[in-house]
Every structure is written in structure tokens, then in C-alpha cells.
């Protein structure tokens, strides 16, 4: 599996990301499409009809399904919290999610997930790639697959696959496997703009302009000797970099209204949700926000009380905003973890790793509003009906985004299935 070869000289293979449209020099004369266009909801709605996007909210460590989407109050496994009604008649979720309960009619639940991988690493890999890990093959993560599948080959210098997390390198990761670095995730370390997009204080702008002018002149001269798709791509990558510096404001939530900043809250997760909104509005295909940490082997209930409550506000605000701006029909939003937590409560009032019967929440593009797929038994120890695997979910995400999930990528002549061919999408969940 290889994204491109020396022997392949087609520009499609070597040009970075969405091919930059400008000529070698003077890129700054052009404004990037997709930026600053959506000051009004109407504009956003206009865009929504054209492009699909995805936001994943990753509740790292393993959210307890019992303290969220599949409460079992009054049973041996149920814990202290009650279930409350939601905006979907007959559907109850944990009382820790009062705000989310009010927007449930925009969302859907899958309550019969059985991944049976009670392990952070393996579970993360499975939920992220839709496949079980094998040493013989490395698979691209969901964000890379979505970024590639939704890549329209437009002119944006922006990355299609962004990860916002409290920590991170700030650079591009190699999580796109055979899809190539173009679709690897760019991490926004602590919600900051991508690494090296800011000119260091010590470097005068004139110096940068001068140096780049010399570089262009040298390249133009060398192009007279030999010019290939590779040399063009390399020369253009600098223009893309400069363009990314100019577009840096799309990563800056302080450009959002003070009111919005207040609505989302000043804590990391709130700010990151607002950033996610800003990014999808700027045309970025895939954004993942991480909220940490749900690995509650001790004091599960206290921790979930704090964590889930912190999640509830920004998440429901995000759903509401996407709906009001007309973006929910084109934006798939998924709340997932790497696994669930044991129904059994341990001696430390904790819940441990669990993969047999747990839940995810999703909604937006392509998803039936208010749907509930599957169920667990009375105490949540087993899936009762419509068992679902991470492979089914992966297909479903793609199908919801309007991508044929059984299609194959053409990787340098090799056909590679986008999603695990052993599974298919959950059609009753799709619009």
C-alpha cells in the first residue's frame, strides 16, 4: 500500500493536500475560499448544501454508558443517578445530561455496542479505524479516511483532518497509514493554531519576504534545468505554508463573539467545541475534540458527575448552534469513547474497563433524528437486541456523510476497502 511512487509523476499524487491554486509567486494576492465566508447563518446554510463535515467528540478513558446514554436507575448496577426524560418522547438518559436531554431530538443513540475490547489502546484503535489491530497491516484512522473521502480537490491550503486535544505535538501525525501524509491529522495543541504557523518574534517579516523571494528566484532558475511534478509540489508547499500563516485566524476563537465565547465556557472543552464549530464553518472536513479523562476505576460517580456535567453544556450548545446555522444536516457529530465501563461497581465505587454492552451518541448529517438502535438487558450486562460492532459504526459514519462505505480507495493501483468489508452500515439509523 503506498500513496505514491517516484515513478508516478502525476501531479495528483505529489501535490500536497488540497492542491494550492496559486502560481509559484504572489499567492498572497488570492483569498482562500472557505474562509470568513460564514458571518451569517444564511451563508453557512448555503455552504452546508455543498459540503459534508464531521465532528467527533472523544471522551477519552471510557465514558460510563450507565451515567450517560443508557442509565439503569434502581438496579444493582445502576448507581445513584436517575434517568430523565428527553425531547424525544419515551427516551430517557442520565440526569447528568440535562442540557443534552433538551436537544436529543437532533441526535440518536446506539445502545447495543459490543466491541469486547476492554483496553484503552486496542479500543481506541478499533473505534478509530473500524478494524481490529493486526501486525500485518496498519489502517488509516477515521479522520484520514473522512478527509480523503470528502476531499474535493479544492484549492484550500487548510488541512482536512484536525485533532484538538489538551496536549499534543502541534504538528502532523502519521495516522493516515497508506493514505499518505496529506490526510494525517494536524493537532491543535491545546486549541492553539498548527505548529510553526506563527512567525517568531526574532524574525522580521521583511527577512521572511526577502528570503522567500530569493528562494523563488533560485527555484525558477533551476526549473529551467529540470522541472517535475515533485519539484513543483515542493516549491508550492512553501506558498501553502505562507497561506496557512495568513489563514491562522481560523484557529483563533477570540475572533468569535464574546457572547459565544461565554456560552461555550472558558474551560478547555468549551473552547475546543467553539473552535470545532469555527473550523467546520471554515470548511475543514474532520475535527476531533477530546475531553479527558473518564477512566474512573475509583469514584466513578463523583468523577462522572463532574466530567459529564462539563461535557453537557458545550456539547448541547454546539448541537444547537449547528442546527440554528443550518449546518446540522451536513455535519455528522459523534460522541464516542474507546470503550464503556463495567456495570458492576467495584470496591472503590469505580467502574472498570468494559466492551460488551455500551453506547455512543451521534446525530446530524444523514442520521435519523431521535432514533435509538438496540438495547441492553435490565442491568446492562449484555446486549439484548441489535448487536453493533465498531465496524458497523465506521460504515455508518461514511454512509451518513454520503460516502459509499463499501467503496475502495485506489492506492497506487491497489484497491483498498474504505471500511472493513466484514461489516455494513446500520441502515435503519440512516435517513
Amino acid at each position: 500500500m503506498k500513496p505514491c511512487h517516484y515513478s508516478c509523476r502525476s501531479a495528483d499524487h505529489v501535490l500536497s493536500r488540497r492542491q494550492f491554486f496559486s502560481s509559484l509567486a504572489g499567492a498572497s494576492a488570492f483569498a482562500l475560499p472557505g474562509l470568513d465566508l460564514f458571518s451569517s447563518p444564511a451563508m453557512a446554510a448555503e455552504m452546508s448544501s455543498r459540503q459534508k463535515r464531521m465532528i467527533v467528540i472523544n471522551l477519552a478513558g471510557g465514558l460510563s454508558q450507565l451515567e450517560s446514554w443508557d442509565p439503569k436507575p434502581g438496579t444493582a448496577t445502576g448507581g445513584p443517578f436517575r434517568a430523565i426524560p428527553t425531547s424525544v418522547p419515551g427516551l430517557h438518559i442520565s440526569e447528568l445530561l440535562p442540557k443534552t436531554a433538551k436537544v436529543m431530538h437532533h441526535l440518536a443513540l446506539v445502545r447495543s455496542l459490543n466491541t469486547n475490547l476492554p483496553d484503552h489502546g486496542k479500543g481506541t484503535y478499533l473505534m478509530n479505524t473500524g478494524r481490529r489491530q493486526t501486525p500485518a497491516m496498519e489502517y488509516p484512522v477515521l479522520g484520514a479516511v473522512v478527509a480523503k473521502a470528502l476531499d474535493t480537490g479544492g484549492a484550500s491550503a487548510l488541512p482536512g483532518h484536525i485533532i484538538i486535544s489538551p496536549t499534543g505535538s502541534g504538528g502532523r501525525s502519521a495516522d493516515s497509514a497508506y493514505l499518505g501524509p496529506k490526510y494525517g491529522s494536524v493537532s491543535l495543541n491545546g486549541g492553539k493554531a498548527p505548529q510553526y504557523t506563527e512567525r517568531p518574534a526574532a524574525l522580521a517579516e521583511e527577512a521572511s519576504i526577502c528570503a522567500n523571494d530569493i528562494r523563488r528566484k533560485l527555484n525558477d532558475r533551476f526549473a529551467l534545468r529540470r522541472r517535475t511534478a515533485q519539484t513543483d509540489a515542493y516549491a508550492q508547499s512553501y506558498e501553502q505554508g505562507l497561506e496557512l500563516m495568513r489563514s491562522r485566524h481560523i484557529f483563533d476563537i477570540t475572533k468569535e463573539s464574546a457572547k459565544d465565547q461565554e456560552r461555550y465556557g472558558s474551560h478547555d472543552f468549551g473552547r475546543h467545541c467553539l473552535l470545532a464549530r469555527r473550523l467546520v464553518e471554515s470548511g475543514i472536513s474532520y475535527v476531533r475534540v477530546t475531553h479527558s479523562n473518564y477512566d474512573t476505576h475509583n469514584e466513578n460517580f463523583n468523577f462522572h458527575f463532574e466530567q459529564v456535567s462539563e461535557f453537557d453544556g458545550p456539547f448541547s450548545t454546539l448541537v444547537t448552534d449547528l442546527f440554528e446555522r443550518g449546518l446540522l444536516d451536513s455535519t455528522l457529530i459523534v460522541v464516542m469513547s474507546e470503550m464503556g465501563r463495567t456495570p458492576t461497581i467495584n470496591a472503590n465505587y469505580g467502574r472498570d474497563h468494559w466492551g460488551k454492552a455500551w453506547s455512543i451518541c451521534l446525530g446530524g448529517a444523514g442520521i435519523q433524528r431521535g432514533a435509538v438502535i438496540g438495547s441492553t438487558n435490565e442491568t446492562g450486562t449484555e446486549v439484548k437486541e441489535r448487536e453493533v460492532d465498531a465496524g458497523h459504526l465506521f460504515h455508518t459514519y461514511l454512509a451518513a456523510l454520503g460516502v459509499k462505505s463499501t467503496a475502495r480507495f485506489n492506492i497506487a493501483g491497489q484497491k483498498v476497502p474504505m471500511a472493513d468489508p466484514a461489516f455494513e452500515s446500520i441502515d435503519e439509523l440512516l435517513v
Binding site: 503506498k2 496498519e138 504538528g171 527577512a207
Partner: protein, 867 residues
């Protein structure tokens, strides 16, 4: 370029006329050049100038550009053989082994993380191996048999351990890395797009690893490689559902008889989980000898092609791991020669690399001549070649037509034969059904026959007794009783008096058919089935009759005992009754036999008819089969001819196209498309140099070298040494002492490399492929540019270069130093003017202006690529 006369074409002419033996007597690098020249009668690019050559040979053999001082020294050298001398000097330098270790590490490990082993000791081991010029086959043997048990050599198992010792991961990479065949798509079925990659070949390699696993009973202790004593590989195509068992076997080779019978050297111990079991016979050891005997053609071609790519930057087959018939080498004869020679040289990698580096091919310019040098000749040659190609194409066309015709004929013959074949299957089934009917009828007949025999015996026994009694009665009362006696005996109405009743099975012997003599024989000799089936009408009917007969007939042996008081006359009367009953039973049995015989006989004609019909069709199919076999044999032979012809025609057509491209490129209207096509064609087949990106390491090391960082590190190392040893003036003059100092500084080089490695990380992150993915793919991202733009590191280096240059006496000296340091060449007049203009515009900030210029040079396309 340009300064060297283009002589190779003349050389070629001389070579082509020389004999084959003198060809073989040439050193390998001359043979290589001759083969490339042969493939390019239109000519090749000229030999490269000193500047490009120096940069290229350093990057190829040391992985880093030369210093400005080295460049000046080389340019000044007027010796005609200075290039060959430089090759030998570079090969003798320790940096060769270092760079080879990095290259082979990346090729073998593809930047996998350090899950089980550390990368550095493994890379050091590779470096030691290259320093000792360990042959490739020996290296491979060590890699595939390592187990990681001994802490001191654990790193050698990195290749296995970082693939989790997983049979499928190892199979894939034995295919890719050691055989040049990416067989991973044939794990679950024959490769859908590559005819040569078969699932059974995959399974054959996998069988070497089927017993290998990651042994790590304790998570806190390092994993090692384990192997079972048993375990086989089976496979099943997910497409065709055809599969089989696989013995250890390299693609296209014979299966290796596995001597193992599941014996252990160290048997598993359920009580001691920490004990690693060791099989008596290791399958991986079998692989080590199968691969490592260096005889497998794919093994030779792979390493020949990979070493070629190490020197030239691209393989003769590209991608390096996709050797197959639809992806032919750019010069098939060349790869054949190299594969043969690398084995003949006993996989001496340094010697082989030397030959490659000495070729003219390695010294081809990036720039194409305005006019391909052989244009005049090919103008004359082209009509002949064209004719030849057309003839070949025509022959091939005919061959293909014939092939299609034969194929059609074969298919048609099969189609024509098909109804007959299908009919025969039906008819044979009918014969079998008829046979079954006959067999079914034979069973009750035999039972009835057996009963008849019993009845006859009983009857004759009773009759004999009656005769005896009559004699007794006659002797006692001779007179009138006589006439009655013979009557029943002589005239039992239905009892045939025959003394030996025929009880032999009345089965008529069916004529044994030629087709199924065996089955017939079986059918005939098969003993009657145990019991008549209850649903058999004849036997059901027969039962009551024989039962009644049995009831009526008194037991033959118990009856004869007359009471002593009974007179003979009375006894005779009783006996007569018995005989009559027995006669009745006998008659019934006879009737039963008759009925069953008739039933049986009635079934025979149908069987016979069925057999006749089947035999007739069978003869017909034999005729068809013979014809199809002949067609098939002819077809296979034709297919081989067609395949050989296809390659010949393809090559001839390619040559014509290449020559036409060359002519078009030489045309006065400067056909730029043709020129680009010729550039690509020549680059692919080594008639001109290709423009290839530096690897992340080459780029990092070269940036460090260009900006003076490496020299600074070295100087610091030397200063450190001198500060410690305080060499006197005398010691400085002493050659021995100087050598010692040099060796010590060389040792400090290690620390330089350590420092250098600290800078490699960001380069690898930005420019390298993902872990476990092929590392040869080129891509350009904004992150790369932004790392150079705002990362600070490169700006800092550029500034330090500028600072050292700013003290030069004049602008020309500054410009020359800038260009020599970064691009290994002197600036041309335009470039000189640019530097002058820049410095004039910013007279008060010369160093800053030079720093901008240095940054631009390092980020330029010319620096990023090898040319």
C-alpha cells in the same frame, strides 16, 4: 557537463562487435554501461560536470553533501582518474557503513517504533556488519533466525520482534524486503491484479513462520521470539473457495521437506510458563537456508535492484517491492546481469556498490544534450527497426489471432463435447439406477432360491423315509396295499422329480461392459443383500406362502420318530400326509422362485439397454477428449510462444518509440513534449540522471553540513581532544601521534553523530513516511515549509553560516562560499550579480542579508533534490 566528450556511443560500437566472452571479461561496470548503451542507440546524456558529480557521489555513498573545502580540492584536482579515486576513498571511509546502516535500517524496519527493541544497537549492528562487509545472504540468515534471547544480541531480533513475530506480517515483509514481491494482497486469494502473485506462494512463505510467535509470558520482561514444534499452514481462497495445505516453499521453488516430527529440544512445561520451548527443527532455520543460500532468483534480483537503488536513487524495477511480469525492469538484460553478478560476487555489497559507482551510467548528466548524440545513426536504423518491430508486431498479431482462434477452438471443442459429457454422466447414472433395480430384484430371488433348496431337501428326505416305510409295510402285509404307494411318490402334481434341483443363482450373467467391468464384477459377485426389504413386493408376498409352508411342513428331523407302538402302516399313513405337505411347500417355493426369477429377468433388458446407450456415448466422449487434449497441448505451447513474442514485440516497439521520441526531441521546432518524454524515458532507464528527493536523513545531514554545523561539531571534538592531550609541536609533527589524534577524533565523531541525531527527529517527522509504511514515497506538505520558515532551527543555522561568510574580503568570495557550501558549485554570473545586489541594498546588515540568502539556498529545489 559539456566538458566531457561523449565517448560511450563509440565505445558501444566497439563493444557490440566484440565477442560475448570478451564482454564477460570486462569489469562489471563496463558490462553495465554496454547494456545500457545497447538499449539506447539514440545516445545518452553526457557525463556530468565535476560539481554535480561530487554532490551526487557524496549523497549516494555518504548520504551527505561534501564540504566547500572538499569541493574546492576536487575541482582543483586535474588527475584524469580522480572520480574513480574518489569512489574508492568514499568506500574506504567509515561514513559509508554509517550511511548504509541508515539506509538498510529504513528499508528493513520502515521506521517502526521501539516496542520491543531499541533502534540504536540494531543500527550499530548493521553498521558493524557493513564495516566488516558482511555479505547480504549472511546478514539475512542472521536476521530471520534471531530470537532475542541473549541480551547482547537481542537487537538483531528487531526485524522479527517489531513485527510482533506475527506470521502474516513476516510473510508480507519477507516477500517485500527480501524477494521484492509485495505478496500481501495474496493472503486471502490470488492477487487480483498481478498474475504472478499466487495465494499458494503466500502460504508457502507463511509456512516458514506458521510456528513463530511472540513469547512474552511476563509483560514486565522483554518479549522474545518463540517457535512451536508443530503447526501447519492451510489456505482457502475467499474468491474461488479453492485451497490446500502449504509446505514451506519460496515462490516458484520446490517445497522443502520438513524433517520435523514435532519433537522438542526444550519441551513446553505447563508448570514453568517462563520456559521458552524450543523445537528440534526450526522452520525459520529452514527459511534461513532457503533464502540465505542465495540461489533463489527473486532473492538475487531483489538485492541487485535494491543496491542499484541505493547508488542511483531509483531501482531498475520500481517500486522496489513489485517485481512481476507486468512491471518489467526498465532494462531487463541489465537486471539479469546484475542478479547473476551479485551472486557471483558472493553478495559482496561493497564490491558491488563500487562497480555501480564506477559506471558511466552513474555519471550521466541531469541535462539532456540539445541533440541526442546518436540521432544521425538512428535515422538510418529506424526504418530497419521499424520494419522489424512491425514484423514482430504482425507475427505477434498473427500469433495472438491464432491464440484467440485456438482458444476459441478449445472452448468450442469443450462446448461441443460438453452435452455429450453431460449426457454420459446422465447415462451412467441411468446404468447405475438400472443396475440397482436388478440388484434389488436379485436379492429376493436368491432368498427364494435358498428356500427352494431347503424345501427340496426336506421333501426328498421325507420321500426317502416314506419309501422305507412302504417297504416295511410291504414286507409285513405283502398283498393288496401295493398300488397306492408309488402314486404320491411318482406323481406329486407340482413336484418335479428332479434329483438335483437347480438352485444355482439364476442370475443371467450380463455381458461385462468394457466401460465398467469392475462394477459389473462387483455387482455379480456381491453376495445377496442380508434381508429382503420389507417394501419389496415379491418378498412380502412370498413370506406368507413360505411361512404357511413351513407351518404345514412338519420339522423334517423330529417327525420320523414313530411311537414304538405304532405299526408301520399307521406310520406310513402319517408319513404320507407329511410328504404331501412338504410337496405342497416345495411347490409353493418353486412357484415363488419362478415369480421372482421372472421379475428379475424382466429388469435385465432395461439394464442392458442402459449399458449399451452409455457405452455408445462413452466412445463418443473418448473421441472428444482426445481432440481436446491435443488442442490443449497445442494451446499451452502457443501461449508460451505468444508470451515470449509479446515481450519481444513490446521491447521492439518500445525501442522504436524511444527512437522516435529522440528524433522528435531533436527536431528543430523544439518539441517540448517529446523532450519531456525523452527525459522521462532516459531517466527511467539510466541514460540520463533522474532528479530525486533527498531522504529525511540526507536532507538533515546536508543542511547541517551546508551551514557549517557539522564542521563546528568536529572542530569542537578536536578542540576537546587537544585540550585534554595538549599535543606539543613535536607531537604535531609526528605522523604516528597525528594518526592517534585522528583516530581519537574519529571516535569523537560518534558524539557528533549523537548531536546530529537530535536534529534528525523533526526532519523525519516532516519529511519521512509513517512508521511501517514504505519510506520511498515523496510528498510535500506546508508543515515541511513551515518548519523551515518558522521552526527557528534552519534560520539559526543560516545565520551562523552567514556570520562566518560575512568576514570574507569581497562580495565574490562571499557568494562563492555560500554556493559551494550549500549547492556544491560556484555561482554563475547572474547569481553573483544577485548576491552583489542584495548586499548593496542592505550594506549595514550584510550578515542578515547573507543569512536570508543562505536560508533560501537550503530551502531551494536544487538543495532538496539530488541531480
Amino acid at each position: 557537463m559539456g566538458t566531457y566528450l561523449h565517448l560511450s556511443f563509440l565505445l558501444l560500437a566497439a563493444l557490440l562487435t566484440s565477442t560475448l566472452s570478451s564482454f564477460a571479461a570486462q569489469p562489471l561496470h563496463r558490462q553495465i554501461d554496454a547494456l545500457i548503451a545497447k538499449a539506447h542507440p539514440e545516445g545518452q546524456a553526457g557525463l556530468v560536470d565535476d560539481a554535480d558529480y561530487l554532490r551526487r557521489v557524496y549523497l549516494a555513498l555518504h548520504g551527505v553533501i561534501p564540504s566547500a573545502d572538499k569541493a574546492r580540492e576536487f575541482f582543483a584536482d586535474k588527475a584524469p582518474d580522480k572520480r574513480a579515486k574518489l569512489v574508492d576513498a568514499l568506500l574506504a571511509d567509515a561514513q559509508l557503513a554509517r550511511w548504509m546502516a541508515v539506509s538498510f535500517d529504513i528499508m528493513l524496519m520502515e521506521r517502526r517504533p521501539e516496542a520491543h527493541t531499541k533502534s540504536q544497537p540494531w543500527r550499530d549492528w548493521l553498521e558493524e556488519s557493513f564495516k566488516a562487509n558482511k555479505p547480504w545472504d549472511a546478514l539475512v540468515r542472521e536476521i530471520v533466525t534471531a530470537d532475542g534471547v541473549d541480551e547482547k544480541t537481542r537487537h538483531i531480533a528487531r526485524w522479527l520482534l517489531e513485527r510482533q513475530a506475527d506470521p502474516n506480517a513476516l510473510t508480507k515483509d519477507v516477500g517485500r524486503v527480501f524477494l521484492g514481491r509485495d505478496v500481501s494482497c495474496s493472503q486471502c486469494h490470488d492477487h487480483p491484479r498481478i498474475d504472478d502473485y499466487l495465494q499458494r506462494d503466500y502460504a508457502g512463505i507463511q509456512a516458514f513462520f506458521a510456528r513463530t510467535y511472540l513469547f512474552q509470558p511476563d509483560n514486565k520482561k522483554p518479549a522474545i521470539v518463540g517457535e512451536q514444534a508443530v503447526g501447519e499452514t492451510t489456505y482457502l481462497s475467499v474468491f474461488t473457495k479453492v485451497g490446500g495445505d502449504a509446505q514451506p516453499r519460496l515462490p516458484g521453488a520446490q517445497a522443502i521437506a520438513d524433517p520435523s516430527r514435532g519433537d522438542w529440544l526444550v519441551a513446553p512445561d505447563s508448570k514453568n510458563k517462563a520456559l521458552r520451548p524450543i523445537p528440534k527443527e526450526s522452520r525459520r532455520a529452514l527459511l534461513a537456508s532457503a533464502l540465505g543460500d542465495g540461489k533463489h532468483p527473486a532473492f538475487r534480483r531483489n538485492i541487485a535492484n535494491r543496491l542499484w537503488a541505493f547508488v542511483f536513487g531509483r531501482g531498475i524495477v520500481e517500486p522496489l517491492d513489485l517485481h512481476h511480469s507486468a512491471n518489467p525492469p526498465s532494462n531487463p538484460a541489465l537486471l539479469d546481469l546484475l542478479a547473476e553478478q551479485v551472486a557471483a560476487m558472493k553478495f559482496d555489497m561493497r564490491g558491488f556498490v563500487r562497480e555501480l559507482a564506477l559506471t558511466d551510467a552513474f555519471q550521466r548528466s541531469l541535462d539532456l544534450p540539445a541533440m541526442p548524440p546518436g540521432v544521425a545513426q538512428i535515422k538510418g536504423m529506424l526504418p530497419g527497426l521499424q520494419q522489424q518491430a512491425t514484423a514482430l508486431e504482425k507475427t505477434q498479431g498473427e500469433l495472438e489471432a491464432q491464440f484467440r482462434k485456438d482458444q476459441k477452438a478449445l472452448v468450442e471443442a469443450q462446448l461441443v463435447a460438453e452435452p455429450t459429457r453431460a449426457e454420459l454422466i446422465k447415462l451412467d447414472a441411468a446404468v447405475a439406477a438400472a443396475q440397482k433395480v436388478v440388484d434389488d430384484a436379485a436379492t429376493p430371488l436368491k432368498t427364494a432360491g435358498d428356500l427352494l433348496k431347503t424345501r427340496r431337501d426336506e421333501h426328498s428326505a421325507l420321500l426317502a423315509e416314506q419309501t422305507k416305510l412302504e417297504a416295511e409295510v410291504a414286507s409285513a402285509a405283502p398283498a393288496p396295499v401295493k398300488p397306492e404307494a408309488p402314486k404320491p411318490a411318482a406323481k406329486p402334481p407340482t413336484i418335479p422329480p428332479a434329483p438335483t434341483p437347480e438352485v444355482k443363482p439364476p442370475l443371467p450373467q450380463p455381458k461385462p461392459s468394457a466401460a465398467k467391468p469392475k462394477e459389473q464384477a462387483v455387482a455379480v459377485t456381491t453376495p445377496a443383500k442380508p434381508a429382503p426389504k420389507p417394501d419389496d413386493k415379491a418378498s412380502v408376498e412370498a413370506k406368507p406362502a413360505s411361512a404357511a409352508a413351513a407351518k404345514a411342513a412338519p420339522p423334517p428331523k423330529s417327525a420320523p420318530k414313530p411311537a414304538p407302538t405304532v405299526t408301520p402302516a399307521v406310520a406310513l399313513k402319517a408319513m404320507k400326509t407329511k410328504v404331501a405337505a412338504a410337496a405342497w411347500a416345495l411347490a409353493a417355493a418353486e412357484k415363488d422362485v419362478e415369480t421372482k426369477n421372472a421379475t428379475h429377468a424382466a429388469k435385465l433388458p432395461a439394464l442392458k439397454l442402459a449399458q449399451q446407450a452409455a457405452d455408445k456415448v462413452r466412445e463418443k466422449t473418448k473421441g472428444f477428449a482426445h481432440g481436446i487434449d491435443e488442442l490443449q497441448n497445442a494451446f499451452v505451447a502457443l501461449e508460451a510462444r505468444k508470451e515470449a513474442g509479446r515481450i519481444k514485440a513490446r521491447d521492439a516497439a518500445a525501442l522504436v518509440a524511444q527512437l522516435k521520441t529522440a528524433l522528435a526531441a531533436a527536431s528543430p521546432d523544439k518539441n517540448s513534449e517529446a523532450r519531456e518524454a525523452l527525459t522521462n524515458a532516459w531517466s527511467r532507464s539510466f541514460a540520463a540522471n533522474d532528479l530525486l528527493p533527498l531522504t529525511p536523513e540526507q536532507l538533515c545531514w546536508s543542511a547541517l553540513q551546508a551551514t557549517g554545523q557539522t564542521d563546528a561539531m568536529r572542530k569542537a571534538a578536536a578542540a576537546q581532544y587537544d585540550a585534554k592531550h595538549k599535543p606539543t609541536a613535536a607531537a604535531k609533527a609526528d605522523a604516528q601521534k597525528q594518526a592517534e589524534r585522528h583516530a581519537a577524533i574519529e571516535a569523537i565523531e560518534a558524539s557528533v553523530r549523537e548531536k546530529r541525531r537530535a536534529f534528525e527527529g523533526p526532519f523525519i517527522t516532516a519529511f519521512g513516511g509513517a512508521a511501517g509504511q514504505p519510506q520511498t514515497d515523496f510528498f510535500a506538505t506546508p508543515e515541511q515549509a513551515l518548519y523551515f520558515e518558522n521552526g527557528g532551527v534552519l534560520r539559526g543555522w543560516a545565520t551562523s553560516l552567514a556570520t562566518s561568510i560575512a568576514s570574507k574580503p569581497d562580495t565574490r568570495a562571499m557568494a562563492e562560499e555560500l554556493y559551494l557550501s550549500t549547492l556544491t558549485r560556484l555561482p554563475n554570473s547572474d547569481e553573483l550579480a544577485d548576491v552583489e545586489a542584495l548586499l548593496k541594498a542592505r550594506p549595514e546588515k550584510k550578515a542578515a542579508a547573507l543569512a536570508d540568502y543562505a536560508w533560501a539556498l537550503v530551502t531551494s529545489v536544487e538543495f532538496r533534490f539530488s541531480h
